[in-house]
């Protein structure tokens, strides 16, 4: 009998943890240890055919240029560009939305490595406006500051980052929370995240009625050349963008572009977020991503696969059941389970 943490147990536990104000601290420790073990795991794996120096979570510091244009690559029988496979962002996790490699503001846990200067870290995920900041209305900016000031000691439920309770990551956070799989079917592009599933409908049906609000919104997409264009409505606004507390509301609207490179090994995500009740103007979020294949070694964060058992010699990848497994209880919950 082996247990992996489930988000349901975590959801229950985190109510308790949240109440006694420990959740984010445990989460931080778990995250750091997870990153460390991911790295250790990498060293124990057979050498990947495309070796990368000490990948860890923060693989890269820059965003490559990928132009929108025609698609000359492989296509699926239904005509969609074939971009199926395992993907992950290259920059960082959700610790900090606008300074992705800058750590969580006010983190009481000592850093394992000194923080390099700002210009040696990856740029803000906000690519427009040029200052890299979300153009919040004053009231909303105050709420974000309040969240950051209370994050490490969350005396109220709203200061707990909801992903720590295993809520779906939402948009855009799901794209920088572990690796994920993109699968394509006639009429659909589906994202299988560790923290929820996004079904993008390509058939042009109308959005759900306005009063239905969803963690991942309601997505309608179409392909233009190398670019998947997705219109997202019906947000519930609850997911937050990271441990820095930025947010959109249930009045928000997101227009996404997934721009794939000619060899389908990379894409850039560019999304325009609009919300007249929270922002002073629309702004753009940019997130670079790369593909991971059976030629890469699994690494516990970006690429969480196992080699399947089978009689053939080729590598088949398994991805085990996606559960919220670490974020605020990777260690404590084992004890909870054992007590039973």
């Amino acid at each position: 009998m082996k247990y992996r943490m489930s988000h349901r147990q975590l959801a229950a536990l985190s109510l308790i943890l949240g109440a006694i104000a420990i959740a984010p601290i445990v989460g931080t420790a778990a995250e750091a240890t997870k990153a460390q073990s991911a790295k250790t795991g990498q060293e124990q794996q057979p050498a990947p055919t495309q070796p990368r120096a000490n990948p860890g979570i923060e693989q890269e510091k820059t965003v490559p240029q990928i132009a929108s244009g025609k698609w000359a690559g492989k296509r699926l029988p239904d005509g969609q560009p074939d971009v199926q496979g395992h993907w992950s962002n290259t920059i960082a996790n959700h610790n900090n939305f606008t300074d992705p490699q800058g750590g969580i503001p006010g983190d009481p846990a000592p850093r394992r490595r000194p923080l390099p200067p700002r210009d040696e870290r990856a740029p803000s995920r906000v690519s427009d406006p040029a200052d890299g900041q979300v153009p919040f209305q004053p009231w909303a900016l105050e709420k974000v500051k309040e969240f950051q000031a209370n994050f490490h000691n969350p005396v109220k439920p709203q200061y707990v980052e909801p992903l720590a309770r295993c809520a779906p990551g939402g948009i855009p956070k799901s794209l920088y929370w572990h690796g994920y799989e993109i699968a394509q079917y006639p009429g659909y592009v589906v994202f299988f995240f560790n923290s929820g599933t996004r079904i993008i409908h390509l058939d042009g049906k109308p959005h759900l009625p306005d009063n239905i609000k969803l963690w991942n919104g309601d997505s309608r997409g179409h392909w233009e050349g190398n670019t998947l264009i997705v219109d997202v409505s019906n947000q519930n606004g609850k997911a937050l963008f990271g441990r820095t507390g930025e947010f959109i509301s249930e009045n928000g609207h997101i227009q996404e572009k997934y721009i794939f490179s000619p060899d389908a090994t990379r894409y850039n995500y560019e999304a325009v977020l609009t919300d007249p009740t929270v922002y002073t103007r629309p702004f753009t979020v940019t997130i670079p991503a790369r593909k991971w294949t059976e030629k890469d070694a699994a690494n516990g964060w970006h690429f969480e696969v196992e080699h399947a058992k089978h009689s053939g010699k080729n590598v088949l990848l398994d991805h085990y059941e996606r559960t919220c497994a670490e974020n605020n209880g990777g260690f404590g919950l084992g004890a909870v389970e054992a007590k039973k």
Binding site: L214, N236, L316
Partner: protein
């Protein structure tokens, strides 16, 4: 299997006459095996049946797998267990009775936990099958939980974790998809009546088209810690054909705390 035949046209005199004629012509076919009758249904490019679509049972199985009279919280139902009675070991039957008494609070469904296998299949919410040659991904509206059924010739992993939905490996027997599911945790129930299992649960599913909009789903359930012998359930799954029908996220385990988000302007 006459009941699968019925489409309900508006009844007019001519309509009724036509229906009667049609019944006479079509009814005998219904008793034949779908394949033998030459029934066409969707197939993948590799020739295997394509179960892609949104499915749901009209059965009330989730209330209680076994035959039961009405109760305050349950409509009556004929059950879906072959032979009517689940063959519990004596001690396990005691536990089932305890579960039944505490069903209002202890049913994992009430906490929004993943429903498990086979419960997610006959639970009264839709699920969507996304199928490729090498796998099927089953996305349940309830909890938006995802089960991957590998049909790429791979086997169960050795020394795996325990999972909510087990580890599913499928193969084809003609046009029937047979799925072997193992490595479960012991946290799910089979229904609202407290029928349960241990982490030794082993489920063998058989998925077969009866017609393009109907799947016959059967599951053999064994668990030597809980049951004296394997037993079988069977339900009919119907394709959702309503215009623009789609799954709607039902992450209900967040409902206890999601009022805290997003931040809202302070009330003046």
């Amino acid at each position: 299997m006459k009941h699968q035949l019925k489409k309900q046209p508006r009844f007019s005199k001519t309509g009724m006459t036509l229906l009667l004629v049609a019944s006479v012509l079509v009814l005998p076919l219904a008793s034949l095996n779908a394949a033998a009758a030459g029934v066409k249904f969707p197939r993948l490019s590799n020739g295997k049946p394509d179960f892609s679509g949104i499915w749901q049972t009209t059965s009330a199985a989730d209330y209680d797998l076994e035959p039961h009279s009405n109760r305050k919280d349950t409509p009556p139902g004929p059950g879906i267990v072959e032979g009517n009675v689940i063959p519990y070991l004596p001690k396990a039957l005691e536990q089932k009775k305890k579960n039944f008494e505490a069903r209002e609070t202890d049913d994992p469904r009430t906490k929004g936990w993943t429903l498990g296998v086979p419960r997610g299949i006959y639970y009264p919410e839709p699920f969507q099958i996304f199928q490729r040659a090498n796998d099927l991904n089953i996305v349940h509206q309830f909890g938006h939980s995802v089960r991957t059924v590998y049909t790429n010739g791979s086997e169960h992993p050795e020394d795996p974790w325990d999972w909510w939905l087990g580890d599913s490996r499928g193969h084809w027997d003609g046009d029937t998809l047979i799925v072997d599911v193992r490595h479960f945790n012991d946290k799910t129930w089979f229904d609202r009546a407290g029928n349960y299992h241990s982490d030794a649960l082993h489920v063998i599913e058989r998925w077969k088209y009866l017609d393009p909009n109907t799947i016959e789903y059967k599951a053999t359930i064994e668990d030597p810690n809980v049951f004296s012998r394997p037993w079988e359930v069977s339900v009919i799954l119907n394709r959702h054909r309503e215009k623009n029908f789609q799954l709607i996220e039902d992450y209900r385990f967040t409902l206890d705390y999601d009022d805290a988000y997003p931040p809202k302007p302070d009330k003046q």
